[in-house]
């Protein structure tokens, strides 16, 4: 029995399948209750940026090498658009951390450093700008991982929900899809906000909490001359331009400490709550007045996962069950996480494994 079942066909699960089929001889089966990249991955804004973080940056570098390879393949549907990222404070005394690669800018300087003519710099009290930031199409990335895994023999079963995890003598031995039991030598939980539930089915506890990631897609009255950068405000509201000229507006309420533990992702509706919608629109309309009257043409709500220390949780949770969980940033960290899980299954230790192992919370 040498079958690995990956639960979840989002960016994490497809990356796992890609790496498992590349580096092991195991039979790989990916199951997903929906379609490839159709849940949390599809709801991601897929911003890619390296922040000078000593632990995360090497993982992101591996991701970019992987994605560069995808982009270089003439068959690919993957796209990348460089838009830059501006983190801005709108209240006095807000601290925005500058690093060597991210320079702090006085609001008066913004107009001479960043091409962002629509920004009302009078509404900004401080900012850092990071030009090397851009956006991928997250579903295209998951599909690319899946296509490559499939070419190497991985099987995908979509529309198949895991109803239970089989455990025998303290070892995870498979998953149940309704009446059907699928045996596995190893199960990989790559189910985003459903990971906690999966872990619980196996009797394990996963330190992962959730916040809502609501998105509004705005259509500006008049086309902008460029794609708006990713502008993140200290209030937690953010915006980012899209290649088609629309603008996504989102909200991130804070870190792990403020996040909920019992969000049931199945209960989250794709309608952005009224209060939050008003706050998001007000916040972006204040700094980019041209968006104040823009029409909301689409909206959805993702469920963002967070970890206690902001690092991914990747590795064996209990015997026979590994997890791939992120503190947001799944698109940027999934390639490294897939590599870590694969090394673990193959009995090797990946260079990233130590920093992301679940055992650090034991």
């Amino acid at each position: 029995m040498n079958r690995i079942v990956v639960v979840g066909a989002g960016i994490a699960g497809t990356s796992a399948a890609y790496h498992l089929t590349e580096q092991t001889d195991a039979e790989v089966l990916v199951v997903d209750r929906g379609d490839i990249g159709s849940e949390t991955t599809a709801r991601s804004t897929a911003v890619f940026r390296q922040m000078g973080d000593p632990v995360l940056d090497p993982m992101k570098r591996y991701a970019l090498e992987t994605y560069n390879e995808f982009l270089g393949d003439p068959r690919t549907d993957v796209e990348f658009h460089l838009i830059g990222r501006l983190e801005a404070a709108t209240a006095d005394g807000s601290d925005i951390e500058a690093t060597e690669s991210v320079r702090s800018l006085d609001p008066n300087e913004l107009g001479s450093a960043v091409v962002f003519p629509e920004l009302d710099t009078d509404a900004i009290t401080g900012a850092v700008y990071q030009p090397n930031a851009g956006i991928f199409d997250p579903v295209a990335l998951a599909e690319e991982f899946a296509a490559r895994a499939r070419e190497r023999g991985a099987a995908f079963r979509t529309g198949a929900a895991v109803t239970d995890v089989s455990v025998e003598r303290k070892r995870v031995t498979g998953v149940e899809l309704g009446d059907e039991t699928v045996e596995a030598s190893h199960v990989v939980a790559a189910a985003g906000p459903w990971n906690r539930e999966l872990a619980a089915m196996a009797g394990a506890d996963l330190p992962q909490r959730h916040t809502l990631a609501p998105i509004l897609r705005l259509e500006p009255d008049e086309a902008f001359t460029h794609t708006l950068p990713n502008l993140k405000l200290d209030s937690g509201n953010y915006l980012l331009g899209q290649p088609d000229g629309t603008v996504l507006v989102g909200h991130s309420p804070g870190g792990y400490a403020d996040a909920g533990t019992e969000y049931d992702p199945d209960e989250v509706s794709d309608t952005v709550p009224d209060g939050l919608r008003a706050e998001m629109l007000e916040a972006v309309g204040t700094v980019v007045p041209a968006l104040a009257d823009a029409e909301v043409i689409e909206e959805w709500v993702g469920v963002r996962s967070l970890t206690p220390d902001g690092l991914p949780v990747v590795g064996e949770l209990r015997e026979g069950l590994s997890v791939m969980a992120f503190n947001s940033e799944g698109i940027q960290l999934a390639p490294a996480a897939g590599r870590v899980v694969t090394a673990e299954v193959a009995g090797r230790e990946d260079e990233f494994a130590g920093d992301v192992s679940p055992s650090r919370f034991a």
Binding site: R61, L64, L71, L82, S112, A113, V115, P117, N132, H226
Partner: protein, 387 residues
């Protein structure tokens, strides 16, 4: 004798001429006329420019570029001028080339945008540049926070619109043959369309400045480098257009465009670009055309850095004449002949144009400018101005 009621005549309707007119018309009450010999504004050197905005150089250069970016932010708020962000990656394929890049980075003033030296292996881990081949890259200087205007006509037209709103007149299809100097003072221009009186003349004619000014008795410390410009087109678009990619050893630069084409240009690499340049008469030299060997160099460089161009077809080629100055800073303002001012750059005209326009406008208005010691013609031995 001409009076101050006569207009200020700007020779050249490229980005420099339009910016000079715009900022002069906005600062002063005087009327401004721009004469462009082509049938459209920005059809000369500006059209051959890469239209990029970056933020590197010495202190003065960065200051001028920042002033330029501020101006363009205002411009883009009011006019639709498509702009695309890009990365700039300068690649070396020899040890000497890597040293030279490291030297360039050392020389960057810290007020510019952050840049980073990368090993060849690191390029594809830091920059989203799938088309770039890094096997032979010994080192790279990565400069982020760059971008370019998509269309030279759009940016020049937007600046011209602003200038028109402030009272400037633009005339195209008018070739200035001579600057009229009377009693040692520039008082007008002689054109294919007759003589125009002028209270001041601003030479903003790119590579045509030298001949114009020489006939008026002014030698310029400005030369031109012959630059061959190519447009390649692939059968299929790039999933991600290549960044602006320069090969330091060959002097070839590639830049992907959003429409899938790749612009390539070549100017001979030289430690001292001014010394390696001459004063071309572009009308005469253009007859030489693109040299076979330059095309070969571009193809060879593509094999090393951008192999995706191997099956691309060459859709156009032309020669351009970017100006070079002895110290790399622009040459702007009063000349030895009262009433004659010059606007010239060491390449990068689009980035410097707003600051240059402001310097000229201030001098015409009698206002001081902090830039004078760094951009005046008189900073060079043997060159003076009327101040």
């Amino acid at each position: 004798m001409v009076g101050m009621d006569d207009p200020i005549v700007v020779v050249g309707g490229g980005i420099l001429g339009a910016s000079v007119a715009c900022r002069t018309a906005e600062r002063t009450d005087r009327s401004v006329v721009v004469l462009e010999r082509a049938d459209a504004l920005g059809a000369g050197t500006t059209a051959a420019s890469s239209l990029g905005l970056r933020q590197y150089g010495n202190e003065v250069q960065v200051r001028m570029k920042r002033e330029g970016k501020r101006f363009y932010n205002d411009l883009l708020e009011a006019y639709f001028v498509p702009y695309d962000a890009t990365d700039v990656v300068l690649c070396a394929t020899t040890d000497d080339g890597r040293e030279s890049l490291a030297g360039m980075r050392e020389a960057e003033h810290p007020s510019g945008s952050p840049s980073e030296m990368l090993d060849g292996d690191d390029v594809r881990a830091v920059v989203t540049a799938p088309a770039v081949r890094t096997e032979d890259v010994t080192g790279a200087l990565y400069r982020a926070n760059a971008g370019f205007f998509r269309d030279s006509g759009a940016v020049v037209e937007a600046v011209a619109s602003r200038a028109r709103a402030a009272g400037t007149t633009f005339e195209t299809g008018v070739d200035v043959e001579r600057i009229v100097v009377e009693d040692g003072r520039a008082v007008g221009v002689e054109t294919t369309d007759g003589v125009r009186n002028a209270s001041a003349v601003v030479a903003a004619a790119g590579p045509w400045n030298d001949a114009l000014c020489r006939r008026a008795g002014v030698e310029l410390p400005v030369r031109q480098q012959r630059m061959c410009v190519f447009d390649f087109e692939r059968g299929r678009p790039f999933s991600r257009p290549p960044p602006k990619l320069r090969h330091v050893e060959t002097g070839v630069t590639f830049r992907g465009r959003p429409d899938g084409r790749v612009l390539a240009y070549h100017s001979a690499p030289a430690d001292d670009k001014y010394a390696a340049s001459e004063q071309f008469d572009p009308d005469v030299d253009a007859a030489v055309g693109v040299l076979e060997e330059v095309q070969e160099t571009v193809r060879e460089s593509a094999e090393v850095l951008l192999p995706a161009l191997a099956d691309a077809s060459l859709v156009s080629e032309r020669v351009a004449y970017p100006s070079r100055t002895p110290d790399g800073n622009p040459v702007v303002g009063w000349t030895e002949v009262p009433g004659l001012l010059v606007a010239a750059t060491h390449s990068r005209g689009v980035q410097y144009a707003p600051a240059i326009g402001d310097i000229v406008a201030r001098q015409l208005a009698g206002d001081p400018t902090d830039y004078y010691p760094d951009v005046s013609i008189s900073r060079f031995d043997g060159f003076g101005d009327s101040v």
